[in-house]
Structures are given as C-alpha cells and as structure tokens.
C-alpha cells in the first residue's frame, strides 16, 4: 500500500517533470517564433507606416483644460 503510494509519486514525478519540460521547451520555440513575427510586424509597420490609431482629441490648449476633469476617466 505504502510502496504503492510512493510508486504513484514516482510516476507523478516522471509525468510532471515531463510535462513541465515539454511545456517550457515548447514555449522556448514559440517565443522564438513570436520574436521573429514581432520583428516582421514592426518592420512592416515602419515601412508603410500603417493605419494610425483613431485620433479625435484636439490638442489645443483650451480643449485640454476644459476636458481635463472628465477625460480622466473615459469608461462612462
């Protein structure tokens, strides 16, 4: 019974370390791919300078002052 439990522990160790290693090894490769993709996207963005985010806020002083209080939070 007791050795049975310890054997279960050993199996769990093999299983667990296996998964931890597989998962993190997979993450190593995925992260490398991710970095390559990110650089690609960044380059392309630099090239055609892509669609800019919507910009409606007027930068004029007046606007800024008046709207300051409310603009602090835009969730409403």
């Amino acid at each position: 019974m007791d050795t049975g439990l310890v054997m279960q522990g050993v199996e769990l160790m093999l299983l667990g370390m296996g998964i931890v290693f597989s998962f993190l090894a997979m993450l190593v490769f995925t992260l490398r791919g991710m970095s390559r993709l990110a650089n690609l996207l960044d380059d392309r963005a630099a090239d055609d300078s892509g669609p800019m985010p919507i910009q409606v806020a007027d930068n004029r002083q007046l606007v800024a002052v008046i709207a300051a209080a409310i603009a602090r939070y835009r969730s409403s």
Binding site: L15, V63, I70, S76
Partner: protein, 432 residues
Amino acid sequence: MMDNGFEALWQSMGIANLVWGQAFMVLVGGLLMFLAIRKGFEPLLLLPIGFGCVLANVPVAGLADDAVGHLLLAKNPAHMAALADLLGTPIAALGDAVHHASGASVHAARALARDLGYEPGMLYQFYAVAIESGVAPLLIFMGVGALTDFSALIALPATLLLGAAAQFGIFFTLIGALALNVVPGFNFSLADASAIAIIGGADGPTAIFLASKLAPDLLGAIAVAAYSYMALVPIIQPPIMRALTTDAERRVEMMQLRPVSKLEKIMFPLTVLLLCLLFLPSAAPLIGMLTFGNLLRESGVVDRLSKSAQNEIINAVTIILGLSVGSKLQADKFLSVETLGILALGAIAFCVGTAAGVIMGKIMNRVSGGKVNPLIGAAGVSAVPMAARVVNKVGLESNHHNFLLMHAMGPNVAGVIGSAVAAGVLLAVVGS
C-alpha cells in the same frame, strides 16, 4: 493511476477538448484586445473584456462556469445521476436541463454541486460578486459622478432636453428588436429587447446594470456592443451630423456659459436625487450613486473619499468588471444569431440617438432664435467625453474659431442622466 494518468492528462489538455466555437471566441477576444491596444478603443474596458473572453473559452478549465458546470465537466457518473435525479431529467439530457432550469432549480442544483465538492470557476465568482449583485456598475457610476463636472449643465439646463431627445435611440431600438422576431432564429422577449435597446444609451455601466437585471444571458454581447460603438463614435456620428444640418447651422457660435457657484454645484446632485426620489424611484440605484459620487466631489469636505471614488475604487472595480463581462463571452452562449442581431441593433441605436439629438438641436435652434448650434445635440447620447469632442471637431470644420466643447458638455452629461432615467423606466415597467 498513471495508466489513466496519461489518459487523464490527454483528456485534460486544451487541444483534446477545444471546440471550434471556443477557438473562434479566442480570436474574438484577441480582436477586442487588438482594438483596445492598437486602435485605442475604450481600452480600460475592452482590454479586460477581451482577456476575460479568452479565459472564459479555455477548454476544460471552466473558469466561467458555476459549480454545476464543473460537475458536468468532471463527468463523474454518480454525481451526474444525482443531478439528473434532482432535476427530474435523464442523464443524456442533463446539459439542456441545466441550461433551461428555472430559478429555484438552479439554486438547488448549485447547492448539490457544492455539497459534492465542486467549486465555481474564478471568472464566475468575479461575475457573481461584481455584476450579478449589481454592485460593480453602481460603484463605477459613483466614480463617474465623482469625475464629472456638471457646470455646463447647471449653466444651461435647457441642454437637458438634448440629452432627453437622444434617448430616442433606445426606444426606437426596442421596437426594432421586437420587430426582428419575424426573422426566424430571433425570439427576443420584452425584457431582452429592453436590455438590448439600452445600448443606445451609450453608457457602459448603465447598460451592464440593466442587462444584468433584465437579460443576463445577453449581457456579454450588449456590453461589447456598447463599448465598441462608444469607441466608434468619432466614425459613426460625423456623417449623421453633417447630413442633418446646414453649414450655416454648424457655424452658429454660442454665448459663453455663465460661471457656476460652488453652492449650485453642491445643490445640483441633491436636486437631481430629489426629483428621482419623487418621480422615478426605479432609477434610484443609478441616479443615487451618480449623484453621491458628484456630491463627494463638490462638497469639498471629503476629498479623501472623492479621490478614492475617482481612483482606487473605480480602477479595481473596472478590472473585475471587465473580466466578469468577458466571462459572458463563452462560445456556447455567445455564438448565436442573436448576437449578430444585437450588434446590428446597437449600431442602429447609436445612429438614431445621434439623429434624434441633432434634430432636437435644430428645434432648439429655431425656438431660441438661432442661439443654439444644433451639432451639440449629438453629444446627448452620452459617450462622455468622446461625443462632446466629436461635436467640437465637426464644429471646427465649419468655423475655425468655434469651440463648442464646453457647450457640448451640457448635453453630454445630460445624456448620462437621460439614459439612467430611461433605464429606470424600463426597470419599472418591464423589470417587475
């Protein structure tokens, strides 16, 4: 153990259980986050909602499921039998039976699942505490009150009528939702239609609060539509504003607003509350918290509490609220033709509300003898302060010296009160 350990492991993996709907919803969550981060679409809400959407669609984990959902996920035959027994249904039909169970049965089923050791998922707990209780949208409304300066409205109360007119978007959409029932696949009740219609209020917390009371199943789609269209206000509104006004109207310069005294600012929230108390108590939770927050701000004697409402509380609540809304974007509930209908109706609601506001602006322009620029009516939909900024921008296109921002703040904050009032009406008539 380990023989079925490996089996259990494979069965516990996401890819072994991922259904297409979940994969699609993960993409939807990614899209919401993309819009939030790259396009600046209401990021405070859409980023947590998008992330919550992804989490809610993690297979097997059941993060958005209640204890009963976890019982079903575990597939323990004895427990399934006990639940089937309780609901008086064959085990095969258990999923459906749980989905359609009524209030008392749901309570009993949850109690059973809890007693059998199942626990609700993390996102479900957030949802129960934050939204089901109604507390989170109300605390956010308190923060909105503490962040909002109502001076423009106090200086020119007539702009309240613009805020009233813009609520026509709500009620028009209500009829639209009911009319949509002729299309097969749609079957909106009056409560569903009311919850959908409130998207036209262009006010996030109000929409979430009402949807949680009238149609919790539709809450995810309603909240996503409300915040998305609020972010799209700079695209949706200008064409409608230009189409309905003449260049001469758009050039109208308005008189500078009179200064408002400290005492008026203090009396304002109390006055609004009193009217709500006398005539529309069903709007009291929303109006009450909005005016409470504003009184904390204007009283000048409780800066600690005002700052807390404007910062710590609203920030923490926003995080939990966003994740909770995201939890309602589970594939099996969200992916339906009804969601498409809600998105379409929401767009209509914003357009009609904008148009109604502008038309009311034109009426006020006539009545006042040309003193009112009709553009400011568009700000009546709320979407504070985006709609007011759009008014300012469109006004500047016609007249480079015409800063309408301050005048648009009046109808803009009036729109917040207006949609809370509309929500109160819907709660009073439909909610009970």
